[in-house]
Subunit: 339 residues, 2 copies
DNA sequence: GCTGGCACTCCTCGCCCCCGAGTGCCAATG
DNA sequence: CATTGGCACTCGGGGGCGAGGAGTGCCAGC
């Protein structure tokens, strides 16, 4: 009973603080929530919660604000995922359905998520490593240059310029193309190496270096450290929390411009189908330890191919963000399934 | 002589204000620049400059700051383009040379430009309308779905999913593909319509709707309002000018997230090879009228295919920004020429 | 264990006043 | 007539001060 009430108090503090952005005091708490006890009792509970590290005072004689640990407890034990209204779900669905290609799906998703959550949104392109090759194209750009275009079954299209060691004619390019096509069609990118290994040896010695160069580029394109792409949107929303980031919006914006950083972020949360939350200092990126990350993985059926999430101040509407992230991830998964 | 000195004073005010971000007074001016006259004289000149609208005082008993008109005069009449050091040019060149494809060129350029100017950088993809088709690919995704991939001679690769009205077999797709390929190879996108007009009629009645659907998508992809893409970078740099944008960083960030807005911006400056500057209120986008835009067009030889530029506070190092924008545009043009 | 009461803390806000940078004007000068 | 030194004036910024008030911790009583 006592424990229950303490948790209820913590929840109330988190909710009030998130909505008002002001330290919440015992009196206001008693007024806004039907806790059934006096403010003095709440004060005792608050003192206990503070001892346990869930809340803190910015200064004596101010109300309490949740600590990272407090938010953590709130997320883990107090908040269900707020279900989205069916109208919202329909809006998401119809907005994403209008997309004309994968790029469009990604950019629509990120805009949508940013708009719903009013936070910064991240959406990762489906990983090539997890995809199979649907088609390969080699287009001759000149005597010694060709453009390699790779189309994955997730709808992803990657291009790469290949510098050929010797001049290669149009018909030779055609032969290389159809041979590579047959060798790779349907092959998962991660297993590409063995699948094409023996291909150069099938060609004349004079063509072999060129074929090898093309294959090298192909493998490079599907290398897992290189191939990841993340789109970002809604950075304007950060500016609305100037108070939180006080003077230093800059490092946060800078961190968000680094692909590597974004990958690290989404890497942490995209391994599971359930929504994962990283709060404040739990965040692996130093410059973002004043922010929280709500994210999850998405993919076709059981295999997750990428992540999606939002970044915002620790003072965030977690249930809402979790619901939105989860919904968008579901729709992304569905779209991938349809292909 | 008198006129000359007044202009020198204006230049000094602009330079000092840009570097210190503080209203500049007559005394400081006399100390920092060898103007050869007393502060009282400068005061007279300043009063005249103020009458003419080139400078203003934030409040009585403060120094002067340049107005938009003042910056305009500075840019038009007082500042040459600051030449970049050869080390800088080499840095740019080597940084861009490492790019593996057009996407990479674009993202490297925007990062580079943002870094050099310490402003927000914009780089537009080469316009499809101005490009010729190098290759077309149609990949079957399912009974009634195909992926259309368009490769332009600028290195641009665009993809689009086509929903086919009826099921089409693999070999039919192949036939459509090779016919479209021959009809479009080398054709400029803007002239695509006439080039493919008669193609559907060459096919059986059963295939005709599908061919028409593919062609419709192709034309849609190259529609000039749809096909433009702009990449943005260095938004973190905006946060460093919090003082300028005082409370309202948000609308600026929001405006910069809108493709349409960015297109309008670059559209204004990308029509010429020389660098164009739009200062403050000259800016066509309302939310950006507190900012300046420095931009130019780039392209192959004489035909400009896209724009590049930076956005920053009106209090900006114009000579430096102009030099950087111009240099990056030149390198982009050169890279396009090489293809 | 809960409650009302109470003393205490300390932040916030408004107020005032001083300081000084910077100005405009004026009379003198070459 | 442009330039200059001198001078009075303006006004924003910052520091100090004090009242107000929200919120706390503690205690004694139930």
């Amino acid at each position: 009973m006592l424990e229950d009430r303490r948790l209820a108090v913590l929840r109330a503090i988190v909710e009030d603080y998130v909505s008002t952005n002001e330290p919440v005091g015992s009196k206001a708490l008693v007024e806004r929530h039907r806790l059934g006890v006096s403010s003095a009792t709440i004060r005792n509970d608050m003192a206990a919660l503070e001892d346990e590290g869930y809340i803190a005072q910015p200064h004596t004689s101010a109300g309490r604000i949740p600590t990272d640990l407090g938010y953590r407890a709130f997320v883990d034990r107090l908040s269900g995922v707020k279900p989205m209204s069916s109208a919202e779900r329909r809006a998401i669905s119809s907005f994403l359905a209008g997309a004309v290609d994968l790029d469009d799906v990604m950019s629509r998703s990120v805009r949508l998520l940013a708009q719903i959550t009013r936070q910064v949104a991240l959406v990762q392109y489906p990983s090539l490593v997890q995809s199979a090759i649907l088609h390969l194209e080699i287009v001759r750009l000149g005597e010694t240059r060709a453009l390699l275009v790779l189309i994955a079954d997730t709808g992803r299209v990657e291009q790469r310029v290949v510098d050929l060691p010797v001049a290669v004619g149009d018909d030779d390019i055609g032969r290389i193309r159809s041979r590579l096509l047959s060798a790779t069609a349907g092959v998962t990118c991660s297993e590409l190496g063995p699948a094409v290994e023996s291909v150069p040896s099938e060609f004349d010695a004079s063509l072999r270096p060129s074929v090898a160069a093309i294959i090298a580029t192909l493998l490079e394109t599907t290398l897992d450290t290189e191939e990841q792409r993340i789109v970002l949107g809604g950075t304007a929303n950060l500016a609305r929390y100037r108070d939180v980031f006080s003077a230093n919006l800059e490092p946060v914006l800078e961190a968000l411009e680094e692909q590597v950083v974004l990958l690290r972020l989404l890497g942490e949360v995209s391994a599971a189908t359930q929504v994962t939350v990283m709060i404040g200092h739990e965040n692996p990126v130093e410059d973002l330890q004043g922010t929280s990350l709500v994210g999850t993985g998405y993919g076709r059926g059981e295999s997750l191919v990428a992540g999606v999430g939002v970044v915002g101040p620790t003072r965030m509407d977690y249930p809402g963000a979790m619901a939105a992230v989860s919904a968008v991830a579901q729709y992304l998964s569905r779209i991938l399934d349809e292909n």
